[in-house]
Symmetry: C2
Subunit: 85 residues, 2 copies
Amino acid sequence: MTAYTATVTVRLKRGVLDPEAETTQRQLERLGFDLEDLRSADQFEIDVDASDADAAAERADEMAERLLANPTIHDYEIEVAERDA
Amino acid sequence: MTAYTATVTVRLKRGVLDPEAETTQRQLERLGFDLEDLRSADQFEIDVDASDADAAAERADEMAERLLANPTIHDYEIEVAERDA
């Protein structure tokens, strides 16, 4: 078994309203910042022990499907890196 | 001016309690998943036009200091990439 960290990034699908991101963007503009757009995402860094990186990614993918993302409104992506155990 | 996306990742500092992450981890374990640890982070993808990547990163850094992160409890990191305008 090798120690991995799987990073799951969960984003709203294009077209799904994100009032929190809009509020953050407007607040930044009120503070004088110049920006074109702002999107927010949730990130989960999950430490797993697995036989290889593919197995770690597969387990993280199942976690996203079962709990971390809502397929109706979310897209997600997964990155896996070895970690110091 | 070049079009960039600055990604600001805001994490709780080590030692700051994260009940939401703990709940998520416990729920995954209840679903039968095997994991060592789970940490959560907020990510902001900010589209900015700037003269170069350093200027884009500097502006995102100011945004993090002013609004996106709370220095008492958060660490943050910034990545900048060109985007298709």
